[in-house]
Amino acid sequence: MLSRVADHLYWMSRYLERAEHTARLIGMHLNFILDQSNGAAGQRRQLLLKSLHIVPKSPVSDDYDLVEVLTFNRTNPNALVSCIAAARENARQVREQISTEMWGQVNQLFLAVNATQMSRVWADQPYEFYQMVKNGSHLFQGITDSTMSHGQGWHFIQLGRFLERVMCVAQLLDAELQALAQDRYSPSTAAGQLALIGLLRSCTAFEAYSKVYTANVQRRQVVEFLLLNPEFPHSISFAIRAMQSALDGIATATDSHKGARVFRLAGRLRAQFDYSQIDEIIAAGLPSYLTDVRERCSQIHDAVYETCIDYPIEEKLAQ
């Protein structure tokens, strides 16, 4: 497979995952603030920006501003509309490599989002709009799984999706846990409970969590679930396994040397998660742990590029 094609598939998938994550967080936020006092709402806005790793160019004074910046503001490269446009543009460059159905879906999602105006979303039902984006992304994943060969290209799509997910969830956890450390969100208060439930919902994890731990929402258990649960698709541990399995697929398809740096990095990260315990992680300090996870993902991204996409030609000729 051409390196350029792999590059486009990977980014198409990353952008779509980012769009879905953004849609979920905004939808959650709009629901959450209904129960909040005005003072708390301001803090939640800052928290949302931090969770998405976005620094707005001008201060956001209310939810209208916030939603505009995160959803429709084209000058923000991480705005929902920018992410979907970028996913579609990447798909367009490799239209021949993906199935017609996949192209149709990503194009349709783009057209739907592009045709939507902020004022309309705000006046009508913002909830429906974000639901539409989430559904559009889920549909794309389903179509991808059932209409595209599960070969190298598909593995690059999986890699992009799960690597982006690890980054997003780690960032979210980091921001949320710092906020939850405040007195106001002490776990015994209603506010603390609501905030934890909100965090779970931001990862569509509330129902899955309840099946494991019952609806008794405890901070330690929430962190354990989102970090280490091996079965839930939005836990970091699950996403890391999926990443590694995508890299295995790529290694097989490209006949790559399995000892190459990228596979070592991914294997090590996975092993760490497989044998971690939540108490140790908390004792060692969660923020630095989460920062470390994100850094290691960046390294894996770089290593994939060095191995498969943007390598110096002299190196490959020497092999």
Binding site: S3, R4, E96, F156, A253, T254, D255, C308, K316
Partner: protein, 483 residues
């Protein structure tokens, strides 16, 4: 036509001084159109409309589009498709085919000659300064031996039918001709819209075009058992990108862009996720100027630095070869009949259109007096750009062209306004005649292959003589009958 009643789809069909592909005179159809004519009279306008609609939908759903430059929104457009086939008899095709073989053979001998000894120039059949002053003459190609001595892997020759019914060559497109994918797509759609009629007619097939093209490209491969053949495209923003993807998929070869290729030690490789893979043959859809920034235009970001040296070293083959544009320079075109006589000692089977060379003072004076009657063309342009159509021009346009001609006479030629033949087209619920041309595709590797069909381009704007897709033209399926 008086003998068509008010509801006939032919009620507004007029014959003029152009050759009509379907009718000899009012309501008397040419033999090969007989069955189509009958069928059209049986169908109601609603049924015809419904078939046109179904055909349009097929194009839309398959994403068969082209890109229009300088348009901000919706730059991808559906290539307009006309429902009715253009039908050529077996005899008509035989003349076209032998004429094309003759012409392409002579043109390749000419290209080989001017990049080697230049006999035709020393014998003063073609003026040497005409060749050496051509923007498309590539000195870098001198003395380079090519596989089979063939320069033009794919040619799309534009033919027109004159009022007396004979075909003439309007242009030889020897650089990177496009449109073959539309020929194939038109046929695909035709088979689903008129299946019965199609099978009754005994139409010769075109479906093997991709195999023939692949075999032709393969025959260029430097000695390697399993040559790696790629199609080099300028990318998604190119007007013919749909065609590039279509042909690459049909042939099962990789579609690459310039940035996918690298050169090292005069070898060309493509970057894959599994490392570098050697490339043997490049079916390039990028003009000479842009193909290698080290040798040609240094500002080109589309090409591959070092490609030309690898080409000269014989490690990679290009189809078409570099430097073919000199022979489709519109001023050199005027000499093609002379080339045929010189190299083959034959009379041209397909004539040229009368052409005035504006460098010649006598011809120039003649043309400048008749700018309102003639068509003036820039010699190095294609796609209907840089043209003055005298009868449809304004005084200001003519004045501008006069100035440009006087400044650089070598850059222009003039031709009489040609009455392109007209073929029936289905427009707004009626059948109306529109001007058409014909572009057959000639493949040349170890042998010449011409698929019995071509792209019939249609000037769908009423009365227009310009058939280029960039100028509002469309196309229709072209049937060559086996008998």
């Amino acid at each position: 036509m008086p003998d068509h009643h008010a509801t006939s789809p032919f009620r507004d069909y007029q014959l003029i001084n152009a050759y009509d592909e379907m009718f000899t005179s009012a309501s008397i159809s040419r033999p090969q159109y007989g069955r189509l004519y009958q069928r059209l009279l049986e169908l109601t306008p609603a049924e015809l409309q419904q078939r046109q609609h179904a055909a349009d939908l097929m194009f839309l759903h398959q994403g068969i589009t082209f890109t229009v430059y300088h348009a901000n929104e919706g730059t991808e457009r559906i290539f307009p498709y006309d429902l009715l086939p253009r039908i050529l008899s077996g005899g008509e095709w035989a003349t076209i085919e032998s004429g094309l073989v003759q012409r392409i053979t002579a043109l390749n001998l000419f290209l080989h000659d001017i990049y080697h000894r230049g006999h035709i120039l020393t014998d003063k059949i073609v003026p040497a300064d005409l060749i050496y002053s051509s923007r498309h003459y590539r000195r870098e190609m001198r003395g380079l031996a090519l596989p089979h001595n063939v320069y033009t892997t794919v040619v799309g020759t534009d033919l027109i039918r004159q009022p007396d019914g004979t075909f003439a060559v309007l242009e030889d497109n020897l650089r990177v001709p496009s449109g073959a994918s539309y020929m194939l797509a038109n046929r695909q759609v035709m088979k689903t819209t008129f299946p019965k009629l199609f099978s009754d007619y005994g139409v010769r097939p075109v479906e093997t075009y991709s195999q023939a093209l692949l075999a032709t490209l393969r025959s260029l491969a430097p000695q390697r058992a399993e040559p790696n053949i790629v199609l080099l495209s300028p990318g998604v923003f190119n007007s013919a990108y749909f065609e590039h993807t279509f042909l690459a998929r049909q042939m099962g070869i990789t579609l690459v862009e310039g940035s996918d290729l690298v050169t090292h030690d005069n070898m060309v490789y493509m970057r894959t996720t599994a490392g570098l893979e050697r490339v043997d043959v490049i079916y390039r859809r990028i003009d000479d100027d842009f193909i290698d920034p080290l040798v040609f235009r240094p500002d080109s970001a589309l090409g591959v630095p070092g490609l030309f040296n690898a080409y000269r070293a014989g490690n990679v083959a290009l189809g078409n070869a570099i430097g073919t544009g000199v022979a489709d320079d519109k001023a050199v075109y005027a000499y093609v009949p002379a080339m045929i006589r010189y190299y083959l000692q034959q009379e041209p089977i397909l004539p040229n259109v009368e052409t005035f060379l504006l460098e010649d003072p006598k011809q120039r004076a003649h043309v400048l007096d008749r700018l309102d009657q003639l068509v003036v063309k820039a010699v190095g342009e294609s796609g209907g750009y840089g043209m003055l159509i005298g009868p449809h021009s304004t005084a200001a346009e003519r004045a501008a062209f006069r100035e440009q001609i006087l400044a650089k006479p070598r850059n222009y030629i003039a031709q009489p306004t040609i009455m392109l033949s007209r073929a029936p087209c289905f427009i707004d619920g009626k059948v109306e005649p529109c001007h058409v041309d014909l572009r057959p595709y000639i493949l040349y590797g170890d042998k010449i292959t011409i698929l019995p069909s071509g792209l019939t381009r249609v000037a769908l704007r009423r009365g227009s003589l310009v058939v280029n897709s960039s100028q509002g033209g469309g196309s229709k399926d072209t049937w060559v009958l086996s008998e």
